[in-house]
Symmetry: C2
Subunit: 125 residues, 2 copies
Amino acid sequence: MSSTAGTAPAIKVLPAPPGLPEPLPEPTVEELRLETVLGALSDPLRLTIVRKLLLESEQFDHSCGWFGFDRPKSSLTHHFKALREAGVTRQRQYGLERRSHVRVDDLNACFPGLLDLVAAWAPEA
Amino acid sequence: MSSTAGTAPAIKVLPAPPGLPEPLPEPTVEELRLETVLGALSDPLRLTIVRKLLLESEQFDHSCGWFGFDRPKSSLTHHFKALREAGVTRQRQYGLERRSHVRVDDLNACFPGLLDLVAAWAPEA
DNA sequence: CCTGCAGTACGACTTTAGTCGAACTTAGCA
DNA sequence: TGCTAAGTTCGACTAAAGTCGTACTGCAGG
């Protein structure tokens, strides 16, 4: 996998089509680590976020407020950042809003079946 | 919080054949929680344990020392206990030794595909 | 320009998890 | 009977995560 030259050049930004904001910094596909992704998904709130993104219209990115959590904004920022830095989600800045979506293709390529488990997850009774 | 109504009243112990020690306390299948299992697997050492159990002769249970980690015994106890309490492994006492194996059937039933990811995992370069 | 709003950054605090030494428990064995 | 080895339990310490208030940035609309 790490066939790329010595120090990974860390291509952070994708060739975004014109008009589409560039993603915030995130790990590349090669940098995705199972233990990190599992750690990011071992939290009920983050599991809820990812599951909701998967089940309800993955076609669009969704802003932080779309989820309707009644937590302080700084807490939400923390969790969205954790998901992005683990490589689970991608975030783009649209004007005022920062919208997220799940990196479905990357995750299915690296960890096939994992997202199915998340989609099938049910929050504790 | 038990479960499906009526049947299956939390079978903690298996119908162990005579001569086979009973498993140490562990969550039932209904009690398995995705976030807990993922949390247990988000540690490299524990991932190593489970992967090694999966790849090298799952037919037999393996004692703590079989893995050959050069960590203090109290640390190992900690991690084996974490895996067992999350429902990932089952432990039985054989004389002096406490042997572990992965609860393959239970995990495949609850979280299909998860163990494949663990088996395919490679410790960080 | 000013104001309001989405969200971040920082920092303090609390909680949880990992690490490991030391003392203890128990089975097998001479 | 007493030794040894596998593993536990306890407790202290440390490191990492989660929580959230406050201050800040930066776009939009009047």
